[in-house]
Amino acid sequence: MNILKKIQLPLGLLTLISLAVGAWYVYQAPADFQQGGAVRILYVHVPSAKMALLSYLFLTVASVLYLWKRWEGADIVAEAATAVGAAFTALTLASGAIWGKPMWGTWWAWDARLTSMLVLLIIYKGLMVLRHSLDDPVKGARATAILAIIGGVDLPIIHYSVVWWRTLHQPPSLTAAENSSVHISGPLLPPLLILSGAFILLGLYMVTVKARQIEARRRLDALEAARMHPDE
């Protein structure tokens, strides 16, 4: 995991710079014709939601690699991505609720998008508990990887929920298929794009820090286990 040590500082600096630039653009952004200043909430909500899903994608890939190649590094990255993904999912749900109260008139609605996002948080939390609910860390890691891959079915459900079912939540404004300025006009767009990029960097930085912490913890546990049972 030497690579983590190397990338941490440049990644951290890049993250801080992009967050600062993003914050400046948010500050400069005009009010939306309907939402007024509340549109600024979406500059946190949307990038955070993207990271909640992206972290899970990362987690799924790491889990497959771990089960296939048995690399411990993949398992460490999976554990880190779980913690990071859970943080972004919680922020997505909370910021969405704070936007929903004045805009929709409710904090929460059991529509397909919100419900499937809540299920994602349950999966992340479940994976954290599952890992430590087995005595043998290797068994715990394997069980967690398997459940993570199964839980991946939630990703397409979240992504397409606003298309497959009629929801209170609006459809995506930024889609790869069409020009993004179709739905977001003028100076309202740059802060969203910049903060989306900044959150990706932040997510990678958080995975890096968490992975190094997990690695140190495991090495320490192994050393202590060796000291307790020197003949094993």
Binding site: F33, A109, T115, V119, D135, P171, H183
Partner: protein, 151 residues
């Protein structure tokens, strides 16, 4: 090494909760439980089935249909999906995004051939973001996106 009983319990609870949440979500994907609201056209087609039931009707607040009773919080308006309308009555505060030509979801008991008495009103936002200075374009865009999403 033996697994302490409370750890094993945690293991089982996790599997049940995560598995249950996933299974419930996937199962409801194949029913219409995840459809948040009916359009006026759908509600009219199923008017006898829905009679006396709590339903959500969604669409656009028809432009020019909003009537406020002065001195009260009572309002009347039509919810339209472009084809059919549902007349709605409501008393109370409305969300900030509730306005003519914008999306709305009303909740209440469906009575065939009567005005729909809403217990609650939710505003449905469209996916369009437009600076205030360009409000006119915004209104037109939002309308188009909303009607498209009702199909």
């Amino acid at each position: 090494m033996k697994t302490p009983p409370n750890r094993r319990l945690f293991f089982l609870i996790t599997l049940v909760v995560v598995g249950g949440a996933l299974a419930a979500l996937i199962f409801s994907s194949f029913t219409d439980a995840l459809v948040y609201f009916h359009t006026p056209t759908e509600a009219l087609a199923k008017t006898q089935d829905l009679n006396g039931k709590k339903v959500r009707i969604g669409g656009m607040v028809q432009t020019g249909s909003l009537v406020k009773e002065s001195g009260t919080l009572k309002i009347r308006f039509q919810v339209t999906d472009g084809k059919n309308q549902t007349p709605v009555r409501y008393e109370g505060m409305v969300p900030d995004l509730f306005r003519e030509g914008q999306g709305v979801v009303v909740e209440g008991i469906w009575h065939a051939k009567q005005d729909f008495i809403a217990d609650s009103i939710l505003a449905k936002h469209s996916e369009d973001y437009v600076p205030v200075e360009m409000s006119e374009q915004g209104v037109a865009k939002a309308k188009e996106s909303l009607l498209k999403s009702l199909k």
